[in-house]
């Protein structure tokens, strides 16, 4: 069980302090990620969905240690990242890479494609310039670009091509785990499909594990093996994609998934409209964070926060409605 987990998050919290007043004293915290537990299996694509501002991007960055977690531990390839030495962490971190949402701001406008993709090689591996050239060319071909693109600058490319360059840079160090932070949401639909297929091909070729962060449910359905639904900094439901799209349990997931449009005008769907706003992450409501908007709330929801519990095999839900039945 433990063996095939590539990365495991245990009680991860990420609080950002808000400083106020003359002496910049910490008055409050933004609880972007609040006590999250999950693991990702080797070779799978793990989807993370949720509204904007629910903490999914922060969770992705915390996992690969771009932001150190406020508390909790991340285990990567069996090693606890908060316990190992700094130099070991530096080395291990290179096995985790990230592809960003906005392809134009994720590439340095003053560097050529060759410099951008070659930079990780230059920093981490003592190899000669010619070998870097060779490797960069190979990487470009892997992501569907070619030699003529090598000496151009980022502004000369389309959004989809820029994203391919970003992917090539992430692949340069032969990572095992890649966080894809809404990699397709800045692209138009036809390009999205091509990039998604590229991700699938690369996964097979290099035996990669993905954490796919998005708010686009049809993308998640297409690409991921397991999905976690996040709400206000917490995972509310976690299951295999098949199971989740067939039978959601958490009221939030039900409302969320009924929003996927079905390309058939004959099918009439009933929309469940969630009323109200996403709760403030500074002062979240007590008990279940979803209770002010929940159509099925019961009295206990206001007082006690439900825990993420396995209801069926591989199906976790954090909701009081189901906890009684267990």
């Amino acid at each position: 069980m433990e063996k095939d987990q590539i990365i495991k998050a245990k009680n991860i919290k990420e609080y950002f302090p808000i400083r106020k007043g003359i002496f910049s004293t910490v008055k409050e915290y933004v609880k972007a990620v609040d006590n999250v537990n999950f693991y990702i299996k080797k070779g799978e694509t793990f989807g993370l969905v949720g509204e904007s501002g629910c903490g999914k991007t922060t969770l992705g960055r915390t996992l690969i240690q771009l932001i150190p977690p406020t508390s909790g531990t991340v285990c990567f390839m069996g090693k606890n990242l908060s316990e190992i030495s700094k130099s070991e962490l530096r080395k291990l971190r290179l096995h985790m890479q990230i592809v960003f949402q906005d392809p134009s701001s994720s590439l340095n406008p003053r560097m050529t494609v060759k410099q951008i993709i070659g930079e990780p090689l230059k920093i981490n591996k003592k190899i000669k310039n010619e070998e870097i050239n060779k490797k960069v060319l190979l990487l470009l071909k892997t992501v569907g670009l070619d030699e003529q693109h090598m000496y151009r600058f980022p502004h000369e490319f389309s959004g989809g091509q820029k994203q391919r360059i970003g992917v090539a840079r992430a692949l340069a160090l032969n990572p095992d785990f890649i966080v894809l932070d809404e990699p397709t949401s800045a692209l138009d639909v036809s390009v999205q499909a091509k990039i998604l297929n590229l991700f699938k091909d690369l996964q097979k070729k290099f035996n990669l594990t993905y954490l796919f962060i998005t708010h686009d449910l049809s993308v998640i359905k297409y690409i991921s093996d397991r999905v976690a639904v996040m709400y206000a900094g917490k995972i509310v439901e976690l299951s295999t994609t098949k199971e989740l799209f067939k039978k959601q349990l958490h009221p939030y997931s039900i409302a969320l998934l009924c929003c996927i449009p079905i390309p058939d005008p004959k099918i009439k769907k009933e929309f469940i409209v969630i009323k109200g706003e996403v709760p403030s992450l500074i002062n979240p409501p007590p008990g279940c964070k979803f209770h002010p908007r929940c159509p099925k709330r019961i009295s206990i929801c206001k007082k006690i926060e439900p825990e993420l519990i396995e209801i069926k095999k591989e199906h976790f839900v954090a909701c009081h409605l189901y906890q009684k039945k267990v």
Binding site: R93, Q97, F100, Q101, S105, R110, P120
Partner: protein
């Protein structure tokens, strides 16, 4: 780059003027008629330095411009044309060195303050504020009084008052540039802070600074000439434009050429730098393009 300059006539004129001035500075020994000699003298403070000496010839004093002395001669019979030519070297040296040194200090301190933030930022910016509050004239007088009257001392004083504005400008830029995702991407591929700062952040923050630098070249030249004019800069006998105007102003009514030609030289050079700076600003900021 050049085709962008061509769009605006004024910046093109600025560029040509500056290239012309640089040409004169480089080929001064070939263009001038008289030449200074350089002697080593010891100062009151006991240090030694090279001083410029021009031959004095009282028979030739106050000759109006003619075919031999294009700009006439001064009260010591020295050729004003040659002195204006050699003055180009001094003026360019002052403004380039001052702005260059101030830029280096400003980039390093502003970059570090903006990138690392927190306490480092707070400390560096308060130091900057202290320097920003020093009036350049008072500092120049103090430096001239303490270290003696020389071009090097004036340059030092100007660098001390000039760098804070570059530090502030760059810090502001760095604050916005460091939020770009390519900075985060660089961190995830294992780049250390210094590499990120000097390879990713500073090169992308530099454009507004470049405009400021070109505009400042003219300003520094004016200030340096002004300091020499009130007797704080170049020592007497130097072919410095401000100093020449200062000694020429007493003879304004009988020999107009004495103060006029060095004054024209200052006007042309400052105008050139300002037009060039405006041109560069228009090029780097497309929103201002007409």
């Amino acid at each position: 780059m050049l085709h962008l300059f061509r769009r605006s006539l004024l910046s093109m004129i600025g560029l040509i003027l500056i290239l012309f001035i640089i040409f004169i500075a480089i080929f001064a020994p070939y263009l001038a008629i008289q030449h200074p000699t350089y002697v080593e003298v010891s100062t009151e403070q006991g240090t030694r330095r090279i001083e410029e000496r021009w031959d004095i010839n009282f028979q030739d004093k106050f000759i109006p411009p003619n075919s031999e002395h294009y700009f006439g001669t001064d009260d010591f019979g020295r050729d004003i044309y040659s002195m204006v030519i050699y003055g180009t070297q001094i003026s360019l040296k002052i403004c380039l060195m001052v702005v260059f040194s101030a830029t280096i200090i400003g980039i390093i301190l502003g970059g570090i303050a903006g990138y690392f933030g927190g306490k480092i930022d707070e400390i560096l910016m308060r130091v900057t504020d202290v320097f920003l509050s020093i009036p350049y004239l008072i500092l120049a007088i103090a430096v001239a009084a303490a270290l003696g009257r020389s071009i090097e001392n004036i340059m030092m004083a100007l660098v001390l008052v000039w760098w804070p504005q570059y530090a502030r400008l760059l810090r502001g830029q760095v604050l916005s540039i460091r939020e770009n995702q390519y900075v985060e991407a660089a961190r995830s591929i294992g780049a250390n802070n210094w590499r990120i700062l000097f390879r990713h952040v500073i090169p992308n923050s530099f454009a507004p600074l470049l405009v400021q630098i070109t505009l400042d070249l003219g300003a520094v030249l004016l200030v340096a000439a002004g300091l020499s004019f009130i007797g704080l800069g170049a020592p007497p006998g130097t072919a410095e434009w401000g100093l020449m105007i200062s000694s020429g102003r007493m003879h304004m009514f009988h020999s107009w050429w004495y103060a006029t030609f060095p004054g024209l030289a200052i006007v042309i050079t400052v105008l050139g730098f300002n037009l060039l700076g405006d041109g560069i600003r228009d090029i780097t900021d497309p929103k201002l393009r007409r």
